[in-house]
Symmetry: C2
Subunit: 145 residues, 2 copies
């Protein structure tokens, strides 16, 4: 694999964002995890490397550009995951199912599980679908059994 930091720098430039230490660190953290990352966790890990406000602004900019997507867990906490290819400022293509584990509270992007189309009452125009499953993740159901 090519140098990760170089890849992230290109990603920023491509999206018209300046290549700052804070932005690169957020991308590093998100890419190094197997599940979505909560804002509080990010804030804690960044520590004094970035002001809280900066973190919020970085996340907002990334979301707008289609670099990451936000998933709210069952408590309403914001969690962020890097988008798979194909997302852009114009449109997010992250309509996969998310899984929120009741035990470890991780949020997994189930990229392979698409949300089925829906029949809604007359008049309603569906734009996006957002499906969160809760239960036990593979790792937790292993441990418990």
């Amino acid at each position: 694999m090519e140098n990760k930091t170089a890849r992230f720098e290109k990603l920023l430039v491509k999206n018209g964002l300046k290549r700052t230490a804070q932005r690169l660190q957020v991308l590093e953290i998100l890419s190094g995890r197997d599940s979505a990352t909560s804002q509080p966790y990010l804030e804690q890990v960044m520590g004094k490397n970035a002001d809280r406000v900066t973190l919020y602004r970085v996340l907002q900019a990334f979301e707008e550009k289609g670099i990451i997507h936000k998933v709210l867990d069952q408590q309403g906490t914001a969690n962020y995951a890097i988008c798979s290819d194909g997302c852009s400022a114009h449109e997010h293509h992250d309509e996969h199912v998310h899984f929120n584990c009741d035990n470890c509270h991780k949020i997994y992007c189930l990229d392979t599980v698409k949300i089925p189309a829906l029949k809604v009452p007359a008049g309603f125009k569906v734009e996006h679908l957002n499906l969160i499953a809760t239960g036990l993740c593979a790792s937790c159901s292993d441990k418990i059994n």
Copy 2:
């Protein structure tokens, strides 16, 4: 239709909750609306009839007893709707789709639209499904076109 307040009083007694003015008012407000009601809206409408803390506790008690259910909108704001029959302290049966209008921001309970079952990766154990559709509600798509 029978006297609404009397019905609510029975509902409270049935659930072992005392019949207080604050609780009755919350039921009045929720039942008088065609969509889920946000906590901020409730707080505003209750005004000085109830302390903020009391409102939170009323909502929590109602949710635990299966009288109402909570829906988080796309911003993570808590919204509440009265449960259809069949919900109880032991189990909520509100696995219907919710519709969050991008224009008026109302959240509708689409009671007739059930969430389809899902095939998830091996190991994951699904307990609950939570599906929120966004777009234009019937009323807003009328107005706009």
